[in-house]
């Protein structure tokens, strides 16, 4: 096992990883930017080093500084978390050069599987079904347009280096093609420095179902089952659950086998996720591979009982995967919501700030993965994910009931959050029946919002009392109040007055 692990990340995932390390008895080294000195991962780490100013380009994305900290602090492994450098082959390469183990797949695997085009070519070779479209990045718009015509609209234009929904456009007809092409390529150029696009058939109302895979360095690769992440807002996952409501044992087996075939074909080692789109007839199509730990990994942890981060560390240390996992079946149901500091009333704009009060959700079947605390100011510079609230129950119904209950307990004041959005989704009949697809939430949000339930008059009265009470506690008001009990006069004052009176002639 490792001597000491450097966590090259921040926020809730840094906390998640350091918890796994501490359970394994491995000391942790964390890094922070100038605005993250007070972040939770720094409060919990064994060692912490400043690596630069707030912008991530000058701190969390600086491979040279990370390697330097790892060397100086005597780390023999680096965990990248997700986001930042997690899928950048330059980090594992730099680790290899420095003689440090990278907890994740090799640089070569990342290059082969992480890129969407290369991943698709690999999928074809491994006999994994893919969405009809181009394998190669396409240069000439006219050529693509004729291909789109033959394929039939709608089609999707996607950035080769894309992710997070950037550089992506749905083209619904021939007239819109030219402007969509222009928008997608300029967005891709701005976001990733790579304007190349590829084209694929746009599936109508597909589900997003992904398979968690694990592979060791001794040639064993297994599937840990699926997660359904169909509830998305503009291609960003919002709610994830396992098992999927449409899953059958046969489909799970064939999707799992396809994902494992792909992992083998790419020589994959460590944790990865193979994403698929599933249509109404339960045909599945390979989408892409995420060569890292996913944000939604706790969902799999709750239904399998495994600790994926500890598994990642064990595999990176050269351990074997135990055999029994090939036959893994999910137990119960798990669901995760991603709570962000964003304002649902203002187009989900991020709204960081100081957390002045909070109540934490706990209790049966509830897990809260987060990197925040009361009194901390959520910085503006990074992704505004506050908490991942994950519920587990025997059935989907029980899981949803627990999640709703926990969302009522979870309160955070001083900043706005998207908690209200989850209250709404978890009450939608379509969601409760599992009738969801990747554009379901966008459609829901496009509908007029049901009018907010006005507070009852007793709630309003209680709030008025609370507001007055709070005001009475403010420093300027304490002196005007009768907080000093009149029944306890000062003996000193009394004696002084008596003496004064005695002095009178």
């Amino acid at each position: 096992m490792f001597r000491k692990i450097l966590i090259a990340n921040r926020g809730e995932i840094a906390v998640r990883i350091l918890r796994a390390c501490h359970e394994l008895g491995i000391p942790t080294v964390c890094v922070f930017s100038e605005v993250d000195r007070t972040a939770l991962h720094i409060r919990l780490a064994d060692e912490a080093y400043l690596i630069g100013p707030a912008p991530s380009r000058e701190s969390y994305l600086r491979i040279d500084k990370l390697i330097d900290v790892a060397r100086r602090s005597g780390c023999d492994a680096i965990h990248p978390g997700y986001g930042f450098l997690a899928e950048n082959p330059a980090l594992p390469r730099a680790c290899t050069d420095a003689g440090i183990t990278f907890i994740g797949p090799s640089a070569e695997t990342m290059e082969v599987m992480g890129s969407k085009t290369a991943g698709k070519q690999l999928a074809r070779r491994a006999d994994v079904p893919t969405v009809p479209g181009t394998d190669e990045p396409i240069e000439n718009p006219a050529e693509v347009q004729s291909l789109a015509q033959s394929m039939g609209y709608p089609v999707l234009l996607k950035a080769v280096a894309g992710g997070g929904g950037k550089g992506m456009r749905v083209v619904s007809n021939d007239e819109a093609f030219a402007s969509c092409w222009r928008d997608a390529s300029s967005e891709a150029l701005n976001a990733f420095g790579d304007a190349r696009l590829f084209l694929e058939k746009y599936l109508d109302a597909p589900r997003h179902i992904e398979i968690q895979i694990f592979a060791d360095a001794h040639g064993r690769a297994v599937s840990l089952g699926e997660r359904e992440c169909s509830v998305q807002r503009r291609h960003q996952k919002v709610i994830e659950e396992a098992p999927s409501t449409v899953m059958t044992p046969e489909l799970r087996r064939s999707m799992g086998e396809a994902a494992v075939r792909l992992a083998r074909a790419g020589g994959y080692v460590n944790a990865g996720t193979v994403e698929f789109l599933v249509d109404a007839n339960l045909n599945f199509y390979f989408l892409e591979v995420n060569t890292r730990l996913q944000v939604e990994h706790p969902v799999t942890e709750l239904v399998t009982g495994l600790d994926l981060v500890k598994l990642q560390i064990a595999i990176a240390a050269g351990h074997r995967l135990p055999f029994a996992w090939e036959t893994i079946t999910p137990r119960g149901h798990a669901m995760e919501v991603r709570i962000y500091a964003e304002d649902p009333d203002n187009n989900f704009f991020p709204c960081p700030g100081k957390i002045v009060a909070r109540r934490i959700a706990t209790g049966p079947g509830i897990r809260l993965d987060e990197g925040v605390y009361r009194g901390w100011t959520v910085p503006v510079e990074y992704d505004p994910l506050l908490s991942k609230l994950i519920a587990w129950g025997n059935s989907r119904e029980e899981t949803i009931a627990r999640l709703r209950r926990a969302l009522d307990e979870y309160t955070i004041s001083g900043i706005r959050t998207n908690v209200g959005l989850f209250r709404r989704i978890l009450a939608e009949p379509e969601f409760l029946h599992g009738e969801i697809h990747t554009r379901w939430l966008d459609h829901l949000l496009a509908r007029p919002r049901p009018p907010a339930i006005p507070p009852r008059s007793c709630t309003e009265q209680a709030v008025a009392i609370a507001a007055a009470y709070w005001e009475s506690l403010q420093p300027g008001n304490s002196s005007t109040g009768s907080q000093v009990p009149q029944s306890a006069p000062s003996r000193w004052k009394h004696e002084g007055r008596r003496e004064q009176l005695d002095r009178q002639p």
Binding site: G414, A467, P485
Partner: protein, 170 residues
């Protein structure tokens, strides 16, 4: 202590006179002149617990920059402005009518995207001075008083930290 509480929520606006009579052991509450069965304590920092006729309410209080409060209980959100009937002016009122030379501070870290005024401009209380963008959201920083822009520290495109002085209004 008597407070005039102005509340606003999706249910509309309302106004209450809350009279808190504190003594050593308890705090009696008169709501709009009527005694009510209420027990109120500070349960945790910024969290007030109210038992009103036996119903439990936990209300989180967050002060806003303009002197009002944001209150949150369950799914409900309120904005409250409190006026002390004995005082000359309410909190919000006094914030708008600030006197003397006023520093204009950045309320959050971000980037100055636009200057709406020049040095020497006459401004009204509440008039927008500077637009600061934080995480793609644009916020107008307003003048706390009627007066003249004395100095402008901020420049367009400049990153600013929370609390940094952007301008002075005399």
């Amino acid at each position: 202590m008597k407070f005039e509480v102005h509340l606003e929520s999706v249910g509309g606006k309302s106004e209450h006179i809350v009279d808190l009579q504190k003594d050593a052991s308890a705090c009696k509450v008169l709501l709009d002149g009527q005694p009510v069965d209420a027990h109120v304590i500070l349960a945790a920092p910024n969290a007030v617990s109210v038992l009103l006729n036996g119903d439990v309410f936990e209300i989180h209080v967050a002060p806003s920059l303009d002197g009002t409060y944001k209150l949150q209980t369950g799914p409900h959100e309120f904005e409250a402005e409190i006026r002390d009937p004995r005082a000359w002016r309410g909190r919000k009122h006094s914030a708008l009518e600030a006197e003397g030379r006023q520093q204009i501070l950045a309320p959050m870290p971000g980037k100055v995207v636009r200057l709406l005024v020049k040095v020497g401009d006459e401004v009204e209380a509440g008039q927008g001075l500077i637009v600061v963008e934080a995480m793609k959201m644009q916020n107008e920083i307003r003048s706390p008083k009627k007066g003249k822009v004395e100095r402008l520290q901020a420049k367009e495109g400049q990153p600013v930290n929370a609390g940094e002085v952007l301008a002075w209004v005399e």
